[in-house]
Symmetry: C2
Subunit: 226 residues, 2 copies
DNA sequence: GAAACATAATAGTATTACTATAGTTATTAA
DNA sequence: TTAATAACTATAGTAATACTATTATGTTTC
């Protein structure tokens, strides 16, 4: 299986970077190390200077790949959504029942992640923690409209639309498929965050990952029931 | 009505500030102007220096009230949640039916706001925009656990618990009342944000505020149905 | 072997998020 | 009324941030 997928590559829209980090060893180091460092320090304390030091290069080099810390974050998050979409497409192909496909989608959205051997330089586990804790900061800015015009959020929108389509297959009369999907996708993140840091806001137990999936599956299927 | 409530005051836990901004004219100016300025510039571009200039004072004065930009944000958000709680308690008193009380709660969570004449120095409309666009940044930090120990999120937790209790009254067997409430509260915010900036992620129309309420009411009542 | 490119090294800028200190004005208490 | 105290203003300073700019050095590639 591993070798079969060896030449799969998750690509991110080229508007997000100045130079494709997948195209060089330095670029891959930047991605790999930035994931570990943002996870470790949090976005606020993460700087290109610290990243450069850890890689053994200088800020200038990193700025040849990414215009800013913000676009690097957008890159990482886009990569994550593209990876989820790839897993979703893979897991739902040849499955006739829309209900089953929707269950798989919710499983993937709420799922505990394992590092994917197909992408050795990416720690998906750390990346998921970044997406949980930092992804809202990618769009909650005054620049959201121009960023959106540049296609910075296409990966997320594409994944959501794919799941929304499954819902419409099941119940074409349900009026809020897009809202339901974005609600579930966002909820999956901060329910995990709450369970770890503000547990009174959730009934999900940090260690029992299946509860989140149950909560969301129940929510979605009841909402779209005819 | 206005005069009846003239002596009502929303208070924020004293751990959030160094000196109570409600206790002086300067303090009230700080609150009033910071709401307008954060709304205008966004949290990232907002600085104490700009705030001081607009008020006609210096940074030092503002630092006597708030330790940092972060605690000022926590103050504003706490004030907002306390204000919602006060409106919720007011609107649900003497209403016997738990279902009706839950509907009111969802209405308030998803509701379009009008400025409240009882608190002249606070623009609730601008404050709601701040809560929508910036409140996640108050807890999505590496300091969330210490902030939580200091009680920075008590207002939000108290409001959520109150609504969660209504749900438990309606269906004591429902397993995820707290998760459902925090999901709805968060969803109410970013569905509005999405409708304005990333409309493909939602079916809610920016101008039709009743859709959001309908979406959330439907979601909640179906979820907790026996 | 020259041109083109990637990276490194170094320096510099405007701004931020504060801290420190001294002086001025307003409030309160004896 | 005076003296003490608190609130506020003015000014200066610091370390760090998020970049930009320039020049030098090595490395491919035609």
């Amino acid at each position: 299986m591993k070798s079969l997928l060896a030449n799969i590559k998750i690509t991110v829209d080229e508007k997000v970077y100045l130079k494709d980090p997948e195209s060089s060893v330095k670029g891959q180091q930047i991605i790999q190390t930035s994931i570990l460092l943002i996870d470790e320090l949090g976005l606020e304390s993460f700087t290109f200077k610290k990243l450069a030091e850890r890689i053994g290069t200088t800020e200038a080099t990193i700025y040849r790949y990414f215009e800013s810390k913000h676009t690097l974050l957008v890159y990482l998050i886009s990569w994550y959504w593209n990876w989820l979409e790839y897993r979703l497409v893979f897991a739902t192909s040849n499955i006739a029942s829309a209900e089953d496909r929707l269950k798989i989608a919710i499983h993937i959205l709420s799922g505990k992640i394992e590092n994917d051997a197909n992408f050795a330089h990416i720690s998906e586990v750390a990346l998921q923690r970044i997406v949980i804790a930092e992804s809202a900061k990618a769009y909650l800015t005054k620049e959201v409209d121009t960023d959106n015009k540049h296609g910075f959020f296409l990966s997320y929108k594409r994944l959501c639309k794919r799941i929304s389509n499954i819902i419409q297959e099941i119940n074409p009369d349900y009026k809020y498929p897009d809202s339901l999907v974005s609600t579930v996708a966002e909820s999956a993140h901060y329910q995990i965050f709450f369970s770890q840091h503000l547990p009174s806001l959730t009934n999900i137990n940090d260690s029992k990952q299946s509860q989140l999936e149950e909560f969301l599956t129940d929510l979605v299927f009841k909402a779209i029931e005819k």
